[in-house]
């Protein structure tokens, strides 16, 4: 049923792009964001959550009325935009990576169990996967956030709960072909239990795909987190999340305070673009089977 419907909901894949030449840039950008995230406390010139109302809506330093005190200007509460962007990298990266890992763990686990055990277990898991894939991801995430209430831990769990299906499908497909292979049959003959076979023999062989999928999912997950925060059901204010900054920035949009929307938006775009490029490159490099994905 949803074979065709995931054609659009699967992670971004640029199947025909050869990227070797470009790859330096996305890695540098991601490393830059990671550096910002880790050393946010040292790098940020101001407290990201506290501003002075007297200094609200200051433009970036190079514009008329800007000062080097706030290099990228201030927002509607007089908070330093640069500091918020730097701390925002931490939120995006931490939420993005952990959510991808949570989704990957659930999806890979269920995919292996489903593919290896087959039978009714397979049927049940795959029917659930199909159904969850039919739910529009963002709407489903909003629904879950409305139930459990938004905070960073819940957002990670929600994203994991929404996106594990992508892994489950692909990993199950791989397991179906793996379990016919010689080494698995030998393990059965040698008397390994099903659990041992799945954990020791199948899992290591699907890890590559799981990692590639994870990188491809990273961009999707970061955009979803930003969208949730933008809509007010993501990271709660006053935390500096990029999506939240965009939502706040809308206030100043019509009077031309461009830095409040363009800057956080560009950060999201750069991070997602880099993650997508890297994921695609990894897919081609590591896993020839996934090229068709």
């Amino acid at each position: 049923m949803s074979m065709r419907s995931d054609a659009v909901s699967l992670p971004s894949r640029f199947d025909f792009i050869r990227l070797e030449g470009f790859l330096v840039l996305p890695v540098l950008i991601l490393a830059g964001f990671a550096f910002m995230a880790i050393f946010a406390g040292v790098l940020a010139p101001h407290d990201p959550e506290v501003g002075t109302l007297a200094a609200r809506f200051r433009p970036p330093a190079w514009e008329v009325g800007g000062s080097t005190e706030h290099l990228l200007g201030t927002d509607h509460l007089g908070r330093d935009v640069l500091s918020r962007l730097i701390f925002g990298a931490r939120v995006s990266m931490v939420v993005g990576f952990t959510a991808v890992i949570v989704a990957g763990a659930i999806g890979t686990g269920l995919g292996i169990v489903s593919g290896y055990l087959g039978g009714w277990v397979d049927q049940v898991i795959m029917r659930i996967t199909d159904t969850w894939l039919a739910l529009p991801a963002l709407t489903f995430a909003i629904f879950l956030a409305a139930i459990v209430g938004p905070n960073e831990v819940n957002i990670v769990i929600i994203l994991g709960a929404v996106y594990w299906t992508r892994y489950a499908r692909v990993i199950r497909g791989e397991v179906l072909s793996l379990k016919e292979r010689e080494f698995v049959r030998l393990a059965i003959v040698a008397g390994c239990s099903k659990r041992t076979i799945m954990a020791r023999h199948i899992l290591p062989n699907v890890l590559n795909s799981a990692i590639v999928l994870g990188t491809l999912m990273l961009g999707v997950v970061i955009v979803t987190e930003a969208s949730l925060s933008f809509l007010g059901v993501g990271v709660p204010p006053p935390k500096p999340a990029w999506g939240l900054m965009l939502a706040d920035g809308k206030r100043g949009l019509m009077v031309g305070y461009w830095w409040l929307t363009v800057l956080p938006g560009s950060c999201i775009m750069l991070m997602v673009l880099s993650a997508n490029l890297l994921g695609d490159w990894l897919r081609v490099k590591l896993d020839p089977q996934l090229r068709q994905l």
């Binding site: 049923m1 065709r4 659009v8 159904t131 039919a134 809509l231 949009l253 019509m254």
Partner: protein
């Protein structure tokens, strides 16, 4: 054929069952559902009234049966904010969402199909490269970012287009572009790969061999056949567009279903949120079924396979 359709139908019903069960269970097991179904700031008496009304002290399966029964009656509850049945609210917003989705679809096809053909015909050359960059940007630029930049440029600096609201064709332009942007890239990629596949086939070789001009080969023989998968995808995407427009509709204050969902979150109007996710999932299940059946009607291989 009948057997195949019956099987598909059964699968769809199963999906709908699992869908309703998922929504139902998530609401019930993650906390006190009564809190979700009373207005913010309600008294203890109100809470008890809701518990009574939904039978929240009953066993889960009894609750589920009554949940399904009210769904079947089209009763999705009452909106706290609008004080009207949620289903009516949903239906009143649906035309706007459909309008936006159709406009976005027009954008995405107008951009996606020609650029996909161009990329396929000039494979590995300059225009193919341009197409690659375009599709990369299409899939990586979040729609709210596209929307906000459009507003900044066309509404704030140039003052050409209204930044929000609805009513005229001008209001439709920017949200349709912001929503269609991602799908344009998807349609371009599929057009390209579909064209490449068709161009490599025997009958195209034959058409060329018999001396048809290349433009005719592409326009008449290749394009028509390459279009089938693209239009299928477009059909599914139209439904998906209706259901993913929440961010774009919020940015442009477009009064569709996405905006309804946003209002549902902001006003803590939980029946609305639940209805939007349920109906959205149901819509997608229905469209998948429809397409499966259409495929079977068109393609005998699929019918026989079942």
């Amino acid at each position: 054929m009948t057997h195949y359709i019956a099987r598909r139908l059964a699968y769809s019903l199963l999906s709908l069952f699992l869908l309703s069960l998922t929504i139902f269970l998530f609401v019930r097991v993650t906390g006190d559902p009564a809190v979700l179904f009373v207005e913010p700031g309600a008294s203890q008496a109100d809470l008890d009234a809701v518990r009574e009304q939904f039978g929240l002290d009953q066993p889960l399966w009894v609750q589920y049966v009554s949940f399904i029964a009210s769904l079947a009656r089209g009763d999705l509850g009452q909106s706290f904010y609008y004080r009207t049945p949620v289903f009516e609210l949903y239906l009143s917003r649906l035309p706007n969402s459909l309008l936006l989705a159709l406009a976005a679809m027009a954008f995405s096809l107008l951009i996606g199909i020609p650029s996909g053909i161009l990329a396929a015909v000039r494979v590995g050359r300059f225009w193919d490269g341009v197409g690659k960059v375009f599709s990369l940007l299409g899939l990586s630029l979040p729609s709210f970012w596209v929307g906000l930049v459009l507003i900044l440029f066309f509404s704030v600096y140039l003052e050409w287009l209204p930044s929000s609201g609805s009513g005229t064709a001008l209001h439709l332009l920017m949200p349709a572009f912001a929503l269609g942007w991602y799908f344009a890239a998807a349609h371009m990629r599929l057009t390209r790969s579909s064209m490449l596949e068709v161009l490599g086939s025997e009958y195209i070789k034959l058409a060329r061999l018999k001396g048809l001009p290349e433009s005719l080969v592409i326009a008449k023989h290749a394009f028509k056949n390459a279009l089938i998968p693209v239009l299928t995808l477009a059909g599914i995407n139209l439904v998906i567009m209706i259901n993913v427009a929440v961010v774009v509709e919020t940015v442009f204050a477009w009064p569709g279903i996405g905006r309804l969902l946003y209002e549902g979150i902001t006003f803590r109007d939980f029946p609305v949120v639940q209805a939007v996710v349920l109906l959205g999932g149901g819509m997608i299940v229905a469209v998948n079924l429809l397409i499966d059946i259409l495929y079977a009607v068109i393609d005998p291989r699929i019918r026989l396979e079942a």
